[in-house]
């Protein structure tokens, strides 16, 4: 043992850059990617704040008049000040009948107001920053809460799907033989049924809404794409020389699978995870729209779009705009982020 060797052994790592570090540096050079990352991070911050209850906690309170227009547009002429609401309603109702006065019209109007949450003593805003929905709930707060729901569902489902897909894919790709046959059979059964049909079928039988259900449904059916890719990667790497070399020096199967191959496959999984978040957010929106997704008391972009459908005919466009804008910005940013990730982790000629 030379003294020189001993001295250097103590020192070692001098500014060397692993592949992850190199990828990060490459990523940072992509301006579009960086901006997307910032936007996505901002959304995550909003989700966290909303989840903690710091913002948009009172989204269900009806603080505006029905269909309050956005602040920029000015108050709607038809929604007059609440002070004069009661007698006006009475007068309106009385006139609706063809000349015959309705003796209990006034009381009915009061009941109706009570159901709609308007008590004569409470004042309601004539306009809201982003408008109000049918019950006068603040659209902006709803959009924020909806972001929280949709993003959480997308993220959680994607993580579940990625975990299952990677685990199954690694086993199938590495071991081959009957293990591979079994997983392939499983995969072909799941993929024989189109994705949306499977989700709807499961939603039908479960007959139970809720965020957790949606996450489970999406995660348990969405692992197939990741499985196929991870399996192909493992099959490719298993015969690469560095894995063979590990075999020859005596590394065990588990060691080869997780210490050697997995770090070389994880960049594929990361990109797939990102893609699946987008896919699941879109799926959740469709499910919630149809009424099979999150519960009635939870707001999601899908439920907002559902309400917006009818509002549009009445000319009230702001809930549609809010939900669409919130979703479009996030999904665009996430998609661009995924592209940038892919380019950074696996650079090829563009």
């Amino acid at each position: 043992m030379s003294a020189q060797a001993a001295a250097f052994a103590a020192g070692a790592h001098a500014g060397s850059r692993g592949l992850w570090m190199l990828a990060w540096l490459r990523f940072c050079r992509d301006r579009v990617g960086l901006v997307s990352l910032i936007v996505v991070a901002a959304y995550f911050a909003v989700v966290a704040a909303s989840g903690m209850g710091w913002i948009a906690d009172e989204w269900s309170k009806e603080v505006g008049v029905s269909y309050a227009p956005p602040g920029a547009m000015g108050p709607d002429a038809s929604s007059a000040a609440p002070a004069g609401a009661a007698p006006q309603a009475r007068a309106e109702v009385a006139q609706d009948d063809s000349g015959i006065a309705d003796p209990i019209a006034g009381e009915i109007a009061e009941i109706r107001k009570g159901l709609a949450g308007i008590s004569p003593s409470e004042t309601r805003a004539a306009t809201l920053p982003f408008g109000g929905d049918k019950w006068g709930r603040d659209v902006l707060q709803k959009a924020v809460k909806g972001t929280q729901t949709s993003v959480l569902v997308g993220l959680a489902a994607a993580l579940l799907a990625a975990f299952l897909g990677t685990l199954f894919g690694a086993q199938a790709g590495y071991h081959g033989g009957w293990v591979d046959d079994f997983f392939n059979w499983f995969y072909s059964v799941f993929t024989s049924i189109p994705y949306l049909l499977l989700i709807l079928a499961i939603a039908a039988v479960l007959n139970q809404k809720g965020t957790g259900t949606v996450i489970l449904i999406l995660g348990l059916t969405g692992w197939t794409g990741i499985f196929r890719l991870v399996r192909a990667e493992y099959m490719k790497h298993k015969v690469r020389e560095y894995v063979r070399a590990a075999d020859v020096i005596g590394a065990s199967d588990a060691r080869r699978m997780f210490a050697h191959i997995l770090p070389n496959v994880s960049h594929v999984v990361l990109v797939q995870l990102s893609l699946h978040v987008v896919l699941f957010i879109k799926s959740e929106v469709v499910l919630s729209f149809l009424g099979f997704g999150v519960g009635v008391d939870t707001v999601s972009w899908g439920s907002m779009l559902n309400e917006a459908q009818n509002e549009l005919i009445l000319g009230k466009w702001w809930q549609l705009a809010a939900a669409t804008a919130a979703m479009a910005v996030l999904v665009t940013a996430f998609s661009l982020l995924t592209d940038a990730l892919r380019d950074a982790l696996d650079p090829r000629i563009k």
């Binding site: 189109p194 049909l197 499961i202 039988v205 479960l206 149809l290 099979f292 779009l305 979703m327």
Partner: protein, 312 residues
């Protein structure tokens, strides 16, 4: 070749068994007791027992499974729980409208996407390329729901160019009047992701060595792109289209629902809303069979267009 087809058909069997088991597991075990669902608010135990007997869910699981298998073999799934129509009839009548929208949709969107993708790939890294790509990304990020809602409102309701929804009885009327807006919406929605995907296929081919050889032979750029590159890129494109087919049938359900087109997709949604299990079971099984057949056809087609592939 024949050996290959036979072997693939043979492989259908375990998959089919798996699908049957999965569907059965879902609907009969997880789905639980539908009697309560259908009895509504009536909770007379006798009536519930009656319904159970009618539906056959009072028998042990193995017997139910056997009944299910027989149903698949005979093609008769009984009657819908909600409308009491024969399930096989429902599916037969709904197939036509679905295809009337889907076939033009598929053809138009594939051709448009291929042309756009080739153009974009050719001018890669230019401003046009980046603009179109960003446009596609943004376009993809807007939910299909929004496209449908907005186009219905603006193009049909406001401008009155198309009927807002509905379906007629005459084939040509359906094709030329009622299908137009749905097809337009469908094409717009699928254009963005397809252009991105096909662009990547074209780019990958354009960087291959054989393109350099073709240029070295002095062939014109037009010939290099339209004959050499296109022929190679067609392979993954065709594969992609074939894979999407079975999913499209059901995936158009949103379009069908909004435009009130009496197709299979809409039927599926209605069945889910009403917990109409026979319809769902039948659709799932048939679509699974269709998927397997389409996959086999896709592989054979693949062999026809890519001479390197050896079917073993």
């Amino acid at each position: 070749m024949l050996a290959y087809v036979v072997r693939r058909l043979w492989q259908f069997v375990p998959t089919m068994i798996g699908v049957v088991l999965l569907v059965f597991f879902l609907f009969s075990w997880v789905g639980g007791d539908p009697a309560y669902l259908l009895a509504g608010k009536v909770s007379n135990p006798e009536q519930i027992e009656n319904i159970r007997r009618q539906l056959g869910v009072d028998q042990p699981y193995t017997a139910q499974l056997w009944i299910f298998v027989k149903q698949i073999a005979s093609g008769d799934f009984g009657a819908s729980w909600s409308t009491n129509e024969k399930v096989s009839e429902i599916l037969a009548t709904r197939l036509g409208p679905s295809l009337t929208v889907l076939v033009p949709l598929l053809v138009i969107s594939t051709i448009l996407a291929m042309a756009a993708a080739m153009l974009v790939a050719y001018v890669r890294a230019s401003i046009t390329d980046r603009a179109i790509m960003i446009g596609c990304t943004v376009g993809q990020s807007i939910s299909i729901l929004v496209y449908i809602i907005v186009s219905q409102y603006v193009l049909a309701y406001q401008f009155g160019w198309f009927p807002v929804q509905g379906w007629g009885n005459d084939f040509s009327e359906n094709l030329l009047r009622y299908s137009v807006l749905p097809v337009i919406v469908g094409v717009i929605v699928s254009l963005a992701p397809d252009v991105r995907l096909y662009r990547s296929f074209f780019l990958e081919e354009m960087h291959q060595d054989y393109v350099r050889t073709a240029r070295a032979k002095g062939l014109s750029e037009t010939r290099v792109m339209w004959v050499h590159v296109l022929r190679n890129a067609a392979i993954p494109i065709v594969t992609n289209v074939m894979i999407q087919l079975p999913g499209l049938l059901v995936g158009a359900f949103l379009i069908e629902r909004f435009f009130s087109i009496p197709g299979i997709g809409r039927e599926v949604i209605l069945a889910v809303e009403r917990s109409d299990f026979p319809v769902l079971k039948a659709v799932t099984v048939y679509v699974a069979i269709a998927t397997m057949i389409v996959n086999l056809v896709a592989d054979l087609l693949y062999k026809a267009i890519d001479p390197r592939v050896e079917l073993e």
